[in-house]
């Protein structure tokens, strides 16, 4: 009866511990290694330095300025991409001819999306917010469109016929059948797109901005402030994990997994 002794609470703590534990070990190894090797700050910072850097950034308000700038751009980019890509992709997917025509174009664009547009974006929009938001939108748009289109093409024909035979109107068809049917593929596209968008954001902020995490990172490099560099990297990593846990994972759990449809081509 050993299994019964496991309390419901303990079951939740276990996985969390298994997530934080290895990372804690990693930090400990870092602290010991830097101390043992006597690595100077201009090469690699000690754990305490990084914590202090985060503290300084927080107290001076820089942290929230940069964080706010990055999150606002990312958020706007995501919303713009969703609003433009999903209707477009689903519309393309509902026509065999259109999807055959656009498939190679979209694959080409996905390969090029994001960072490669930075030079043009800065030319069109100048340095600053608009260029960065354009890059995030651009990085996500094609992957989302392509996967939404594929998703609609993958909906079983019987399902479409069943819906039509029940007298579903065109708008209802979109909200009740096409969008949910394409969702497994859309979630895949969202994952790919967010990956490109996040990288695009950091790169664009390094190259074309005077605020944001990427900018903070690159400024610190100019003054060899490795503590600030590592601090910014940690923040970037944590933000992505949070995005994954709080945005993508619940979306997958509530929709695709809940309906027993597995994701496509993860």
């Amino acid at each position: 009866m050993t299994a019964q002794s496991v309390k419901p609470g303990a079951r939740r703590v276990g996985p969390a511990l298994w997530f934080v534990g290895p990372l804690a070990v990693l930090v400990a190894v870092w602290a010991v290694a830097v101390a043992a090797a006597g690595t100077p700050m201009r090469v690699f910072p000690q754990v305490g330095d990084v914590a202090a850097a985060i503290g300084d950034m927080a107290s001076s308000g820089d942290l929230f300025r940069h964080l706010g700038a990055s999150l606002r751009r990312m958020g706007l980019g995501i919303v713009l991409a969703l609003v433009t890509a999903l209707p477009f992709g689903i519309a393309l997917g509902s026509s065999r001819l259109l999807s055959a025509f656009f498939a190679p174009l979209l694959r080409f664009s996905v390969a090029l999306a994001g960072i490669a547009w930075i030079p043009v974006a800065t030319l069109w929009f100048g340095y600053g917010d608009r260029a960065v938001i354009f890059i995030v939108w651009n990085a996500m748009f094609f992957a989302l469109t392509y996967n939404a289109m594929l998703g609609v093409r993958q909906i079983p024909l019987q399902l479409l016929r069943a819906a039509r035979s029940m007298g579903t109107s065109r708008t209802r068809m979109f909200t009740e059948v096409l969008l949910p049917g394409a969702l497994p593929s859309i979630v895949t596209g969202l994952r790919v797109g967010l990956g490109y968008g996040w990288r695009g954001l950091v790169a664009a902020e390094i190259i074309a901005s005077d605020a944001g995490l990427g900018y903070a990172l690159f400024q610190a490099q100019k003054y060899f402030r490795t503590d600030v560099i590592i601090a910014s990297m940690v923040i970037i990593g944590v933000l992505w994990l949070l995005m994954d846990r709080l945005l993508l994972a619940p979306l997958e759990r509530r929709t695709v997994q809940r309906w027993g449809m597995t994701g496509v081509g993860r």
Partner: protein
């Protein structure tokens, strides 16, 4: 490239009557892939010719082709192109050499996997470009810095995909091999390595997609040579046709990479074995 597990596909017998020439032409892969670019380029041309946007913001195909000729003649483009490809080659080569063995090691040892999984996720979460500043601190504005970031971008998606791939190998295949007399090592070589390949192929694609972008970003930021540098340098002096040319080159290069290396590899392995099916949107 999106793929799904394939169900057995039976080829249906075609009627012997040959289709009209234009129909057969439309059915060829080349036409299907490249055909759609013709009207798009025509549209691009038209928009540029009508001067919908100012000429300093938007140029048409002739200007880009002129620029291509000019840079080819001066030898600038071939030089930059080979710089970029060399970096990509080093990055991918070392990325594979490091990522594949490490990935399989982590996947095969449950304790190690449990320990490494969050660390892998965290390192994957630190967007690769974000490593560039610290790497510049270590190695300066050099080829080493660019290669380091590239290797990084490839290793982590690759390792994650190897672990996922090993998990996806059907248990019955391993059982079948064991009951035919295969030891653990043979099971690994003959069942787990090929069984994980669909996912690994996907990981290589993802890694290359990220690596490709990281290369362009690193070349812009490190700024010594390469196609990324060429584009940003042109942007600084406002040479829009050279920026457009850079994008066209990057796109064409990706296509060549896909058509000459990735796609043939997948056709010869996972597609040949019926484990994944190329998913065309016209299906």
């Amino acid at each position: 490239m999106t793929t799904v597990s394939a169900k057995p596909v039976r080829t249906t017998a075609r009627p012997p009557r040959p289709a009209p020439l234009w129909r057969r032409l439309v059915r060829t892969g080349t036409f299907r892939t490249l055909g759609p670019f013709v009207p798009v380029i025509a549209l691009w041309w038209l928009v540029a010719a009508l001067e919908v946007f100012p000429e300093s913001f938007f140029v048409g195909p002739p200007e880009v082709v002129d620029k291509l000729g000019e840079l080819l003649e001066k030898g600038i483009l071939p030089g930059y192109l080979s710089d970029s490809l060399t970096r990509l080659g080093y990055g991918v080569g070392f990325g594979l050499l490091i990522g594949l063995p490490l990935g399989y090691a982590v996947a095969m040892l449950p304790r190690l996997r449990r320990f490494c999984w969050p660390i892998l996720l965290f390192f994957q979460a630190i967007a690769d470009i974000a490593w560039l500043p610290i790497v510049i601190v270590w190695f300066g504005f050099s080829l080493t810095s660019v290669t380091f970031v590239l290797v990084y971008t490839i290793v982590f998606p690759l390792m994650l995909s190897v672990v996922a791939g090993v998990e996806q190998v059907p248990r019955e295949l391993i059982r079948a091999a064991r009951s035919l007399g295969a030891g653990r090592w043979r099971v690994f070589l003959e069942v787990i390595v090929p069984g994980a390949l669909p996912s690994v192929a996907g990981g290589i694609r993802t890694g290359l997609g990220y690596g490709w972008r990281a290369l362009v970003a690193a070349e812009i930021i490190v700024g010594t040579s390469g196609v990324g540098f060429m584009m940003f340098d042109a942007r600084r002096v406002g040479d829009i046709s050279q920026v457009f040319l850079g994008m066209a080159v990057l796109g064409a290069l990706w296509y060549a990479l896909d058509a000459l290396i990735l796609a043939p590899f997948e056709r010869a392995t996972v597609e040949r074995w019926g484990m994944v099916r190329r998913l065309e949107a016209d299906g």
